[in-house]
């Protein structure tokens, strides 16, 4: 499963808002994820990919597209 598909699955599972459409252009706000949801999404991603997400690195992330790229980079760094 691609990172995008995994992220989409996790976001939908956590927010419990299947009616809200996931797209790379969407922000957490548009996906109706509140702060507790975001923490749970981060933990689920860390668990799934065995990565560590740094809070300060998230400042640059504007939408899901950025977030997917960030996670792909983290997965890539893991092998090094």
């Amino acid at each position: 499963m691609s990172v995008e598909e995994t992220l989409k699955k996790i976001v939908t599972r956590v927010t419990r808002k299947p009616e809200v459409a996931f797209s790379p252009g969407a922000t957490f706000e548009e996906l109706e994820a509140d702060s507790l949801d975001i923490v749970q999404i981060l933990v689920a991603l860390e668990d799934t990919y065995d990565i560590e997400i740094q809070d300060e690195e998230l400042q640059e992330i504007k939408n899901m597209g950025d977030f997917i790229a960030y996670i792909e980079r983290k997965i890539g760094e893991k092998g090094k």
Binding site: V14, T15, R16, L36, V39, Q40, V43, E46, D47
Partner: protein, 413 residues
């Protein structure tokens, strides 16, 4: 000289119950009246290596029936029991929150929270480090969140407290709510207890101190006042009462189920685990005095009756201290023989039963009473419910640690 207060009457206008005998007040009451045991083999975790194999679990509970999925995700079983019973109670009280001043509706729930989650997360912490901990673990565990989530769900902005005085907590929550209402801090308080104690840490620890029954036949394990009792059976669930001033209940034309007449408290200051009959009697004297009820007026005692050797003998002694020879004439029974010991929620679940008793004129039995114990020689309503009018019911709850709290629930004319 203190001020003389004219205290308003406080009435019960609604009830909710999630119990090992069923998921409504009606099912719970039917189970009690029929002398049905809610105990069974432990299924909530693998207890094969534990010295105790029996518990009174809540069966077929589906939290999604009572709250949005999101709240299910963010809460534990204990909180979910509380929310379910609160919603049932306000529905039965026909309490329309949109017609109430939200700051005048409080919620007070007795609970120990859900410490088992901390034990599980401790395992995660040791094995996988701090970044793998469930970020919601404290929110799911903390006793404060039980009452907070329940009030959040219904939008109640009045006094909000989770209360813990061990196994006296359920009564303590109702007594504390009573006093808030008497003093005008709220018009309505939704009060009671919630507990989900059938988990490895609670069962292991309580078994190790020797308080739990080791009987392997579930239906026979809880046997209060019987000579061969060997400890209590852990139960789980929630009991919730909607309490309000009589004036407020009348204004909104609420159904009035009974009166919560008074509460009395004491603390043993004697032992961490062993009960003290003399101090239990102080709580009973206080509750009688506070209600202005003479000992002769008590028609029935809903006992703490845990099924431990020490409790049942001490409670029998304390009842004799308060009622003298009349103790032999008062029917006394233990709901714990059927629902097990709901710990912090016990008093509240038993208050629901006490309200039903004064309304219906039926006294639920103490089941599994087979062999009389010379130390427990009162009328425990053995094995079969008794049809008998009850105007005034005394309900006892005693905590491990020494907390005692008794309530008087009176039939409302």
């Amino acid at each position: 000289m203190g001020r003389t207060l004219t205290l308003p009457s406080i009435v019960v206008t609604g009830m909710g119950a999630i119990t090992p005998l069923g998921l409504s007040v009606a099912e719970y009451w039917q189970g009690l009246v029929n002398g049905r045991s809610g105990s069974g083999p432990i299924t909530l975790f693998d207890a094969s290596a534990y010295p105790v194999s029996v518990a009174a679990e809540v069966k077929n509970f589906d939290p999604e029936k009572y709250m949005p999925l999101k709240r299910v995700d963010r809460t534990s079983r204990c909180i979910q029991f509380a929310i379910a019973a609160v919603k049932m109670a306000i529905e039965s009280a026909r309490l329309d929150m949109s017609q109430e001043k939200p700051e005048k509706v409080g919620v007070i729930i007795a609970t120990s929270g859900m410490m088992s989650i901390i034990a599980d997360e401790g395992e995660v912490l040791r094995k996988r480090g701090p970044m793998r901990i469930d970020p919601l673990s404290i929110a799911k565990t903390a006793p404060s969140m039980v009452t907070a989530q329940a009030a959040l769900e219904i939008g109640a902005k009045g006094p909000n407290t989770s209360l813990n005085s061990a196994c006296a907590s359920g009564n303590d929550a109702l007594g504390t709510a009573l006093n808030h209402l008497r003093l005008g801090h709220a018009d309505v308080i939704i009060a009671g207890g919630a507990e989900a104690n059938v988990n490895p840490i609670s069962i292991a620890s309580t078994a190790r101190i020797g308080a739990l029954s080791r009987e392997t036949d579930p239906a026979k394990a809880s046997r209060p006042f019987d000579l061969n009792r060997d400890g209590f059976v852990f139960g789980e669930g929630a009991g919730i009462l909607v309490l309000e001033t009589l004036e407020h209940a009348r204004e909104r034309k609420a159904p009035i189920l009974a009166e919560l007449a008074s509460a009395g408290w004491s603390f043993d200051a004697y032992s961490e685990t062993a009960p003290d009959a003399e101090t239990q009697a102080i709580a009973m004297h206080m509750v009688l005095q506070d209600a202005g009820v003479a000992p002769e007026e008590i028609d029935y005692i809903n006992a703490h009756g845990t099924s431990t050797r020490l409790n049942d003998a001490a409670e029998t002694r304390s009842i004799k201290m308060v009622f003298g020879d009349r103790a032999y004439k008062i029917p006394i029974s233990s709901n714990k023989s059927m629902i097990g010991h709901l710990a912090c929620a016990a008093g509240a679940a038993e208050a629901v039963a006490a309200v039903m008793t004064v309304r219906e004129g039926i006294i639920p039995p103490t089941i599994n009473y087979e062999t009389p114990d010379p130390e427990c020689d009162l009328d425990y309503v053995p094995n079969k419910a008794r049809r008998q009018p009850v105007n005034v019911c005394l309900s006892n709850s005693f905590g491990m640690g020494g907390q005692n709290c008794s309530l008087i629930i009176r039939r409302f004319p």
